[in-house]
Structure formats: structure tokens, C-alpha cells
Amino acid sequence: MSLRIALPKGRLLKDTSILLEKSGWDIEGYNTQMRNYRLQSKKYPEMGIKVFQEKDIPIQVAVGNYDIGICGLNWIEELLVKYPSSAIAKVLDLGYGEGVLFAAMRPEMLRETGTITRIASEYPNLAESLAERLRLKRFSILPLWGAAEVYPPESAEIVLLTSKTEKELVKHKIVNVGGLVKTKAYLIANKNSLKKKDMTQILAAITENVPPVTHEIDEANNIPIIIRAIASSTGKINANDKVRIALPDGHQQSHVCSIFEQAGICVNDYPSKTGNRRPVSNMEGVLIKVIRPQDMPLQVANDNFDLAITGRDWLIEHRYQFPSSPVEELVDLKYGKVRLVAVISREIPAENIDEWQRIHNQSRSACRVASEYTNIADNYARDKRLGRYRIIPTWGATEAFLPEDADILIENTETGGTIARHNLKIIDTLFESTACLIGSQRMITEKIKQERVKRIVTALESAVGAN
């Protein structure tokens, strides 16, 4: 039985690991410290097991790369709402992964004014479906990498985000206006595999160890009537003379603190132990929010921020998608240096992209390019004239895709260590990226704000110069 299984990283990892242990799979190394995404079961050694970001799993199962997968219902519905004919069968509710994907907003926004409703979310397909169901006259979808809770009210009217309970939304000062789908873990299978392959042994072992679940309606279509009242937004709530800055969450925070210190800027509660995404600084007339660096260029383009600190890789990714975007690099902050590289399996006897292409062309199949940077990957494939190619969007852990699920990766690397550890090699460098301060080419009309922006830019320039 040569089944291929996709298991989740992240929030479902612990419970999934317990379930598989009970089911007698005996998998070594499936834990939060794992360094290899390819695992083996001692009981089913012929099974191909790989670990993915949860969001990638429904797609991988739907396209038939994997026979079975485990992921949250939220990601299954995100795929199915856009591609209802996807070859996925929801086989079993696994009884863990508690939570709900809520549509939420600031209570003060529950009124009908303005022109356009902005919906920000990691779930753009479900967001679009919600807008259509609500028959919003005019809406825009802002796809996010995370931190959706911090967007209302200034940058979005509605956000779609997961939370264990409705009460938890209160700490972000937002209210639930409709539970869209549960986030519980599901065992899914590729429909064709389910028809053709014998999975009985595995399914029986898992089923025995799953607690009985009560039947519920998962795809709740019961958006409360309250949301109908917000046909559109109040427009942007901007304090005209305040400078709005986006700072990154994650591992970049210590670098930012160090540069800010040299620039004489003090930001309290950043990084925040309590998850505060609105820290306060000693600068007058400045509003700070902490969001994902991947989301910053789009936010600056939409005039939700005046300045942001992100990586040049994400700025380039944004500009490849929107060439006439007003976002530009203002200061190179010279830390967080990475290279964007093209990566292939070490087994392939090619040392550069041309050699690889010659070898790949013999297979006469479409080239699969996997990347978190879908627009950079797309641009690269066109520039290098890769012929017929497919971009496979990923959400991290891209190294796991080679060689079975992709032919080439576009990936960032600091030292090349992770790439080497996964038995991969670099065949091309696209560009180097460091952290940078970005802003908009749009003219700032308020003089006081202009001066404040200039002061921050100059302070950061000198801080970097002093480095």
C-alpha cells in the first residue's frame, strides 16, 4: 500500500501526533522541534508522509499529490468555496482543533454609510463569498498573511479570523457578526484515491481512536441579520496629521528595536509579551501598529500606513503584482540580509538554471514552481522562458515540496543551511534582500505630518549610517 499522507504543522500538530500514536502509526520525529518534513511510520513503512503548513494540505490532496491529509475545516472550505469541484472528500471529523472562523468588526462600524466595504483576511475566497452572500454593493478583499484582528477600524471594515471563542474577540475590541465555519480538524482524502486505493487499515485505526462527534452544520450559512446593516463602510478613519507606522511582528522585532534605539525612538511594549499590536512610542503624532511584514506593501499602497518596515523581498513581490503601485523603498535598514534563490533537488545533475531547463525539457511536462513569493516566481518563470509552467503557492515549509510536489522552488535563504539539510541545492540567485523602510510616493499634504515623516526617515538614515 503506497499511500501518501500530508500532515499539518502548527496548531493541529500536537493533537494529530497523539491521535496517530494511539492509532499505532509509530512515527518518529513528528513534533514541534522537527527538522525534517519527511517522516516515516514504523507500522506502515511504505507510506510516504510529509508535513505541510495546514493551508497547503487541501490543495495538495485535491490535486492528487497526496491521498490523505489532516487539516482544519476552515482551510477545506477556503478551497471549496472557490473551487467546488475540487477532488476532496471530507472523511472524518477528528474531534479536535476547536475554534470558529468569525466575520468580525468594530461595533461602531455597524451602520450604513460610506462607499466601499474592505474585508481583510487570510481567507480571501471565503471573504469574497461572504461579500457576495451579503450582496455588498462595492467591496474590496485585502488578502493577509495574519494579524487580521488589528486591521479594523482604520484599514478594514470586516475581518475574517479564527478564534477559539467569540469572547476572545472582545480583547481586540471587535465583535462577531457571523460564524462562518468551524476550524475543527478533519481527515480528508482525494476522491479518486478513495475510489481506487485500499485505505481500510489506516482509516479503521484512526476511526477507532476518534471520539464520537455530534452532528452539526459546518458550513453555517446563518450570517446574523446585523451584518446586513453594514452595506458599506464609513471610509477611512485617518487622523490627518498623525504618521501611521507599521512595524513587523516575528523575529525582526529585536533588529527594529536596536535601530530605533540608535535613532532615539522608543517604542513601549514592542515586542509585546501580551500580544499587544498597538504599542505607543515617545514620538509625538505617531500611531504604531504591529502587522505581518508580508502584508505591509499592500497596506501602504492603500494608504492605511505612511511608513512600514518590511523586507525588500516583499516589496518586490508587491511591485511585480502591481507595477504601478505607489510604494517605494525609502531607507535600506541593512539587517535581515537574505538571498532569493532558485532551488532544485540535489539529485538533478544541473548547476545552473539553463542546465536544469535542458534536463527538465526532456520530461515534456509542465514545470511546477513552488514559492511563497508567487509573483516573483511567476516573473522568474517568464523571464527564464520556462515554457509551460505552474506556480504552486505555498505558505512556508516550501522545502518539503521538492522533489515530489514541485520541480523548482523560489525561496529565501540566509546561510543556505536549511536548503542543504533538505538535500536541495541553489542553482540561481534572483536578488539580495534586506529590511527596509517603505513609504508611498503619494504627496502628503499636511505640513506637520510631512515634517514628522521626514524626521523619522532622517533619524533612521542616520541610525543605519552609524551602524
Binding site: E132, K137, R228, L298, F322, S325
Partner: protein
Amino acid sequence: MKVERCKGFKDFAPQDMKRFRLVENIFRDICFQWGYHEIRTPTLEYLYLFTSAGTLTPGKLRRVYSFLDWDGWSGERVVLKPDGTIPVARYYIDNPQKGFSRLFYVTNVFMFEETGREPRERWQCGAELIGEKSVIADGELVMLALDVLSKLGLNNVEVTLSHAGLIRAFLDEMELDPQEHGRLFDRMLDGELKTLADIKPVKPELIQVLSLLLKLKGKSPGLLKNIRVISEKTLPGLMPTLDNFITVIDLMERTGCNYKIDLSSGKGFEYYTGVIFHFCIGQEIVGGGGRYDQLIPQMGGSDMPAAGFAMYMDDLSRIIKVEGNETINTNRVLLDISPKVVKEGFKMAALLREAGLIVELASKEQQETEYDWLIELKSESPTFVITNRKNRSKLELDSVTEAIRLLRM
């Protein structure tokens, strides 16, 4: 690597284009004769034109081709136009010339289809009459469409009639909550009108009238009038739309149109507010349209009533009979020139084309049997060797004028 056409899309081969152009040309000629003006709207429109209530049903919206444009960082999507009428309404609102307007268009529309076996790109030709609310306008559109179909040699057309206003009025009487009301109306316009019969309305008298109406099929103006009498006191809310439907049916009667009332044929778009008509040949629907008085005001334009129809060109091109398909051009000339006389050759070809002949330069691959005349052009006398393939005669000439005269005879 296999070179493939996109799934659900098709090529038009030369013979397909002949049929397509015939439909298009007849449609355009007749629209001009009826006083309509041609417009062409872009392939790409903003998605929001189609998403607000009163435009496309959610069933259709789920299948549009939408994406972010290169400058779409605001997150607003654009769409490959899924319908011909809404862009015309947008054009009308955009256009400074307001008031009464007769417009027509020929366009392709895009809608995803799951299997890829049915077309995802369709061509339609349509006419819109904006600014006129009377049933005469509805009648004009039906008669215009029938005129086009007749000129295409399609005379066995039956017009099926339904009424969006009447369906809405029924749902109003059922006192449903607004979400359920909207959902049911959309399902009906997506072709599931029979679901009406499953609802348990709060007013029992509705069941009786509904049952009569759903069963009503055929030429029955009398029955509609009888239903009106039965329900006048108990269901007064139905009267305005029922009266409008009766007036339309009366008009159809007087014009001698081959029509059929079938409320369950009310398949179409959410923007319809009044009569909905479909043109049927046997079991096949070759076009449809209706009244959409609220579309222009809902899209932000003035309070302007309108109605229109579209005919499905892919279906029409398939079913029309094109006589003498291969022998339309009887004067086809194959001109054989050598490199020495290339200048004279092109000049000769131009003169022959001016004289109304179809001239092709010979290549080794061409079959002489497809041509009426073969001309060999030489650098020395006799300059022209002309073969008439019909009577297998051969003539040698030196004068271009003589050659042209001969070929035009």
C-alpha cells in the same frame, strides 16, 4: 509538449466564421433598419457592477472570471464580462446623452462551466431599448428578435413568456424574511421555479392561485384574466404585475406572435422586473430577454425604465442553413508568377482584385481544382497564359486589359 486550447473555449474555423458572420450581419442590418445604434463595451469591467443586488444571481456570480488587475492593490476585482446588458447600462449611465435610447451590440461573454465540455465563452447579439416603459416597447423587442430569426430562415420560433414582477409579487405575499425572499427569487431565476410549489405560504389562497399559475402553459390569456378575478380581493398585491402580464399577452395576441405562457420559464437575470421572454426552436432556447426597469437606477443612473434581449450566436450559427456554402465566390483566380515578374505579378493581382475577383498567388501546395481561372504570368510573350477550368480552354494574351476583360465576362 502538447499544444492545447484552453478548456471550455473554442476556435472558429473559416466555415464557422462564415456562419457566424451571416448571423452577425443579418442582426446588425435589421437593428439598423429598426433604428438601433451599435455600441461595443470593453471585455473587462469592474466586478462590483455585477455583484450588487438586482444584477447577477449568486449562482451566476460564483462562476465569473474575476481577478486583480495590475493596478488592483485596493483589492477591488475586475471581471471578464459575464453579461451583455449590465455593461450597456453602465455605458448608458456614463454617457452624457441621456433619455430615450435604442442600442445594440455584438459581444462575447464569459462564464465558468464546471466540466469544460460546455462553452465558457459565448457570443451574443443583443438589443436594449432604454427610456420606454410601455408594453409596446416589450412588443417591439420581441418582434425585432423574430424579424432577425426570420431573416436567418428560422420561422418556427415559439416565444415563451414569464413575468419576474409576478414572481416577486408572489414572494412578497408569502411574507418571507428578506434573506429567504432573495434566495428563493435567485433560485427561481437560476431555473428552479418549481421550488415555489414546495413553500407553505402563510395565506392559503396563495396556494390555489400559485397552483393555477404554475400549471398554466400555452396560449391562455383567458385563464390569466380569470385568475385575476379570483384573486382580486384576496391578493390585491398581485394585481399590478398581473395586469401588466395580461397587457403583454394581449399585445402578443394582436401581433399574431406564436407565444406560450409558462411562468416556470422565468429563467434569467436578477435584474428582470417585468416580462421575461425566451425564443425557442423546438427544445432549444436561442435567445431571451426581458424588462429591467430598476437596473439603471440601482447602478446609480437616473430612474430610467428599460428592456432588452440577447440572442445566442453560437447556437444560431449552428442551426441556420447556409446555402451554396462553398460556391459563394465563383471567380477565384490562381496567379502563378515567377521571381522575374514579381512586380508585374503583384500589379496584375491588384488590378484583378479591383475588378472584383478573388486572387491568390500560387504556391506548390495549392490545389488547382479549387479555382475558376489559372493564370501563368511570364516575362516574355505571350505574357499571360489563362486557363478557364470550367470549359478547360486555354488562351495566351499579352495585354492586361484584355486579360481582365476576359476574366470578368
